[in-house]
Amino acid sequence: MGKRYLSIILFFSLVGKIYASSCCGASGSSSQLIIGDNSFEATLTSTLKNNVGETYDDGQSKFNNKSVKDYSYLQKLEFKKMLSEKFQSGIGIGFESKKMQKTGKSESDQGLTDLSASFNYELISDNIYSSYIPRTFLGLRLNYPFGKNLYNAKKDLNIDVRGNGYRQIGTTLVLLKDRYQINFLPTYTPKQGNTPNFMSYSLGGQKSFNHNDWDFGFGLKWNYIENKKELSRSIQNFENSFFINYTLNPNTILGIAYNDNTLIGKSRNSNLARDLSFNLTWQNPL
């Protein structure tokens, strides 16, 4: 059994070529929550991302032609643990490989992305018998970058931009009811280097369904970064997601998800991207 899981992890590690990510996407944050009855969860996620174009300030889009290559390959590891009946914490880190072919140049880069930490509290549990009051989590998120951001990138094509690239602090609000989930994640980026302070927001909803050992569903998330005073205009996009999870056994879940921000909603000054993720979660049920 152990060899099967090891082979799955190795498969995820070797899938795909390595290209770069675009600069200007408003990427949403993660809530890093344990929602099920588990005391501990560890998740390995492998993501292949294809940046297919950009949008102008008026919302019109321009998709890259076939001669332009812009991919990234991200491996992310997350650990989440219940500290008490209502408190939980999480930590995560990623490693990204990038290679870009544009303007006749071919550039590559790889390295750690962001170190993220979260502390969450279950404000309202499922023990409250009400058709209207959702299960509610409140939390705090911290982000520390190992990659560059737009304003301190040093390499050609901004290829050394990885992850969010900023020190950030944010809050989390998650509402759950009958397999519906709503997340609101406002994030504050303080002044650092040449970048002024700014706010960004992520608001998303998700619906899941269950059939035996299968969970599947869809979601929509709005990502917004406010304009950075005289430095840049605001950025926004809407990201669709579709996911399927399979419970292999009480300790292990396999999942696949597809995210696409080209389908719905007005996108402004944002990259256009499609990505496919494979994840493996090991959990310790209570």
Partner: protein, 141 residues
């Protein structure tokens, strides 16, 4: 079932506006960059020039252009130039600038327009380490 339809409806309403797939720009939605440009001027230095693209802006290869001044540039004046995307807030790799011997022609090479959107080409005149004049032009890819 009604709840699911309501949920989907809320999502679609929340994301009003044309999707990127349905709102593609037709060629360049703004000004068209051609290989022959009209005459421009540095207002303070009163230097007139014409800008000619050798390789027009595009994502597939590095671009280059020539500035041809009506009058020779004084030897103590240096040229500084860069391109940036002000809507996104980032720049690009350094431009290679060469002032030819006639002091009237300036070559700008290796302009890297590596994504679509609004770029701004900025050209500064520098004398004794100080900027004495500036000129800029928006370029849309």
């Amino acid at each position: 079932m009604k709840t699911i339809i309501l949920f989907i409806g809320i999502f679609l309403l929340a994301s009003c506006g044309k999707s990127p797939l349905l709102n593609k720009a037709k060629d360049s939605p703004f000004s068209v960059v051609t290989s022959q440009e009209k005459k421009y001027e540095f207002p303070k230095a009163q230097l007139k020039f014409q800008m000619t693209w050798i390789t027009p802006p595009n994502i597939e290869e590095l671009s280059s252009l020539n500035l041809e001044f009506e009058d020779a540039i004084a030897s103590e004046i240096a040229i500084e130039s860069y391109i940036e995307m002000r809507d996104h807030g980032h720049g690009s790799s350094p431009i290679v600038i060469t002032i030819l011997k006639d002091q009237k022609t300036v070559e700008l090479k290796e302009l890297s327009f590596f994504m679509t959107g609004r770029w701004t080409l900025v050209i500064n005149l520098i004398k004794n380490g100080k900027q004495i004049d500036t000129w800029e032009k928006d370029i849309y890819l």
